[in-house]
């Protein structure tokens, strides 16, 4: 189980790197799809609350370090997000298009709302007010667009590689 968490965390780490290093450069519109959120969504559906919120916490912590945000703010956001995403496990059967798109759309809104609430509660200086700006619209669009692809890709990887390792599958 610990190994599985480690692999998921590693994947998330790679996603952060890819997103910050490549996608941010490729897309010059000032906005990019929140792939790590999509991955956490997928993870929540696959693994449930407990692992997803822990991975969310760790990756949020890592994200804060990476982006120079106040330590803990992304941990808070992604922990709660992991918990909520994990609620979906076993509750309904998802399709590869509609479910990811809608949830990814809502996830981006959740992310910004919670960030703003936390900034307000902790009286932190906001660097940029992204809500009600064109960036949010673009991120909503890109994230919704990319979500089905990430879902299909993640499921495919899991089915093809992860299952072949018994140890990795072990809980």
């Amino acid at each position: 189980m610990k190994l599985r968490y480690a692999v998921y965390f590693l994947i998330l780490f790679i996603i952060f790197l890819i997103q910050s290093a490549w996608i941010a450069r490729l897309l010059q519109w000032g906005s990019q799809p929140a792939i790590y959120l999509i991955f956490l969504l997928w993870l929540g559906y696959q693994e449930g609350r407990q692992p997803t919120q822990i991975i969310g916490f760790l990756s949020g912590f890592f994200l804060d370090l990476l982006m120079g945000l106040p330590i803990g703010i992304s941990s808070f956001v992604l922990t709660l997000f992991g918990f909520l995403a994990g609620t979906a496990k076993g509750r309904f059967i998802y399709d590869n298009l509609f479910y990811p798109m809608v949830l990814a759309f809502l996830s981006v809104i959740y992310k910004y709302l919670l960030y703003h609430v936390l900034f307000f509660i902790f009286q932190l200086e906001q660097r940029n007010n992204i809500i009600f700006s064109g960036h949010l619209v673009l991120e909503l669009f890109f994230t919704s667009l990319v979500a089905p692809i990430i879902f299909i890709l993640a499921t495919s990887i899991k089915n093809r590689f992860v299952k072949s390792y018994g140890g990795f599958q072990g809980g």
Partner: protein, 284 residues
């Protein structure tokens, strides 16, 4: 007993406990790392109240804005129609101005020409043309009142040339009827400006803005060519001598005729004729 109940509860709610713990850790981290201070209850109150006030204000602004917009659209429509009518009026002024400017230019040219002539020239405007296009007559706005007499010659100045238009055949009190040189009933004594051969010019009438020169003998055909200018000879005393009539366009030589048929293009472009001069030879 109590501790076993708590441990049982913790086991059952491990996910919630984990969540609360992680959120607490995160919150503490934020508080410590950002050197931040927590929001006070007053700030929350102000924020909640402010949010409510903002919502209400937005609703009020929305309603008043909507009603205002309706009124504004109505005002704008009225303003638009007013501006549109003004614009059309100005367009009319502009066209009128352009027309007046062009007319002014034409009149200046006419005046300049008039001043350069030795004969007395009475300027006139064509006020009517024969609508049937049969007789090739025109009506000018000068008559007995202006000293116009029957058989007075009419000339016109166009561009840099002037030429014969016709003669007055009827004089009214303030208008006169003019028989143009294009009319088949109008004969003008004419001659070649260079070769000085004489003949008669007659209009070809309906539908043709052409004239024909008659009574030029075949022997003379080598002495002129197409493009040569034909002027009035003054021999029949109806027209002053030396007024340009037209230019040779085509020469026809028929075997059974002793004379040539010479088609002549008038110097004056009758299709755009507006102003003319009535020529009166100065006495003495």
């Amino acid at each position: 007993m109590k501790s076993s109940f708590l441990s049982q509860w913790a086991r059952n709610n491990i996910q919630t406990l984990t969540l609360v713990s992680l959120l607490l850790i995160s919150s503490t981290s934020i508080y410590l790392s950002g050197q931040s201070r927590l929001v006070t209850p007053a700030q929350i109150g102000v924020s909640v109240l402010g949010l409510g006030q903002e919502i209400l204000t937005n609703i009020y602004s929305g309603i008043t804005g909507f009603l205002g917009s309706v009124q504004e659209i109505s005002d704008l429509r009225a303003k638009y129609q007013e501006l549109q009518s003004q614009f059309q009026e100005y367009q009319g002024f502009e066209r009128q101005f352009a027309e007046l400017r062009a007319e002014n230019q034409r009149l200046r040219e006419q005046l300049k020409f008039m001043e350069s002539q030795t004969s007395t020239l009475i300027p006139a405007i064509i006020i009517a043309k024969d609508p049937s296009n049969i007789t090739k007559t025109i009506i000018i706005n000068r008559g007995h009142l202006h000293g116009i007499r029957k058989n007075d010659a009419i000339i016109a100045y166009q561009g840099k040339d002037y030429g014969l238009v016709g003669r007055v055949i009827e004089v009214g009190f303030t208008s006169s009827q003019v028989q143009t040189v294009l009319d088949p009933g109008n004969f003008v004594a004419a001659r070649f400006q260079k070769s000085r051969y004489e003949g008669l010019i007659v209009g070809l009438g309906a539908g043709k803005e052409m004239m024909r020169m008659l009574y030029i003998r075949k022997q003379a055909k080598d002495d002129f060519q197409e493009g040569d200018l034909i002027i009035t000879s003054g021999n029949n005393s109806l027209y002053p001598r030396g007024i340009p009539l037209g230019r040779v366009q085509h020469i026809t030589e028929k075997m059974y005729e002793t004379n040539l048929e010479i088609d002549v293009t008038p110097v004056v472009d009758f299709s755009r004729l507006e102003y003319v001069f009535v020529v009166q030879e100065r006495e003495g």
